[in-house]
Symmetry: C2
Subunit: 340 residues, 2 copies
Amino acid sequence: MRKPTPTPKPATLHDVARVAGVSLITASRALSNPGVVSEGTIERVRDAVMKTGYTPNLLAGSLKSKRSMTVAGLVPVISVPQFLPTIRALTETLDAQGYQLILGQTGYANSREEKLLSTMISRRPDGVVITGLVGSQTSRDQLKRLGIPVVEMWDLSAHPLDMIVGFSHLKVGSAIGGFFLNKGWRRVGVATGDDHRAMTRREGFCAVIGREVPTAIVPAPSNLEMGRRAMAQLLAQDPKLEAVYCSSDEFALGAIIEAQARGLRVPGDIAICGFGDADFAAHLMPSLTTVQVDGAAIGRRAAQLIIDRCAGRAVKEPIIDVGFRIVERDSTGASAARRK
Amino acid sequence: MRKPTPTPKPATLHDVARVAGVSLITASRALSNPGVVSEGTIERVRDAVMKTGYTPNLLAGSLKSKRSMTVAGLVPVISVPQFLPTIRALTETLDAQGYQLILGQTGYANSREEKLLSTMISRRPDGVVITGLVGSQTSRDQLKRLGIPVVEMWDLSAHPLDMIVGFSHLKVGSAIGGFFLNKGWRRVGVATGDDHRAMTRREGFCAVIGREVPTAIVPAPSNLEMGRRAMAQLLAQDPKLEAVYCSSDEFALGAIIEAQARGLRVPGDIAICGFGDADFAAHLMPSLTTVQVDGAAIGRRAAQLIIDRCAGRAVKEPIIDVGFRIVERDSTGASAARRK
DNA sequence: CTGTTAGCGCATTCAC
DNA sequence: GTGAATGCGCTAACAG
């Protein structure tokens, strides 16, 4: 049985000031702006802080100063490996400037995005970073009204809500399609999550191929197990598929395993391309051809945009394309060695 | 070039009350405690909220009510897959009760833990969830003084700071050691991260084996690449090693790859055991023997403890052992087929 | 360099 | 059911 209602009243700045024998505001300054306070005073205030066990109340400070030193960050799901480097870079870049990232999960459903955004905004962040384009008009209006910097990321648009850091999913799709065509593959398929960005990549892919292709769609986020099922589905549609593009590396790994389990050689009988360049991609057997995106750079740049604008600096380039590149490995390799 | 200083003054509850033609407090109640306000009034207030584009300021509300509806969560590094299920379960369980998880990364360094904790506490969370045991006395004192519920997790202790949810790393180590002994392996090694919990597992392992064993230590968090290097190091110490325990599954995968790259068969020439039961563990070639821990359960239970205590309910069981189990797969399999 | 005054936006406490 | 006053803990603005 543990303490159900502990009530040790925490010290306030008032207590510190009293103990230090200075006024409230001097104590405040000694802690947050030591430059304008004399050495001796700072010393006495620091002592008082120790004695009283004072911990500042940022809720109160933020209320008055109108700067919370927090940035709201929205991601679909935190456990999707794809966004981890971005989240990490965001956290660290912001932290270096004293900002705290407040993470929220929208869960690939726009309804939740709207609600979550409202909750986040209630805590008065100094900036907002959001995965994908802000969909709902309500949310867009709300963000604009707030007048705080907003960065959309992991996508691109000529007319962002405010600022944007990402790359073109349409171009990624076209690039993969072009890559497949170059290899001479015509019987191609797509296994994809159903989120907007992945669907846009599929669109670019089909545009280049020149027609709708066999497609297996799963609810995002896709994973290894779904990859196995999706591959089974695709092979049912066309047993002689030459190549498949999968919307994530985990998904692609599942596809490879399923293909191998059916006695197909990868890439001998069927080639596979993923997306994301996960840690493990280079180390699989066969190593996985995939699309590399610098997620950490997205996070860093997004954080920097927020920081700059919070510091009152005008941002010259509010639309940043970090690009992407296809990393060709064994899972699409050695076309000479392929097929019956 | 974008707006450097936008200043659309956001609506306050005061504005809402004025537009609705009611008093401030009535507007407040209509929004946060509709039960005690008449239907018509609620209607008018809701209308006024729309018209004004009002978003509540939780900073102000929390300052007065002394409940921020936030919970601080500290993890070593967010991008370590091991903790993702825990983080996710925490987020979702708390969210269901209206709480927001504020995540912070301590980075496996206690110095940062202390500083981060102070920052977090400044935002007056209603509870704190922290990975591992709180090390520094300063931090322990600070947390106790605050009088808010604290859950330590991913470890166990007879004397937690407040509450704890986890399992015994010493027992995990012993269990793996016992498992190896049972298989008849005596020339065994350990590849481990240098964090406290991993080192404790190693300790338990050595205790059962009965001596210090060849060990490769890498700075946490361990990853695939380090696994390759660690395995190389271990084989240099003892080329005839029969089995290796690795402190994470990513680490173990690296070890397997390095072994295979050197022409060793796994488990034919050398057996490998990981820790964590990552998604991919079951799908590797060979599938990976590892230790399964229910990370999501840890998150759920921890969140529930916080929620209960915030609701004023006394917690009868402040020490929760979620246990673990060894999942035996091919990487330690078929001892009959082994070795020269 | 230091102090005084005045709120930030809201919820609690008491009245009606 | 509704309202008026009060202050949560701190900092911006202006004095000295």
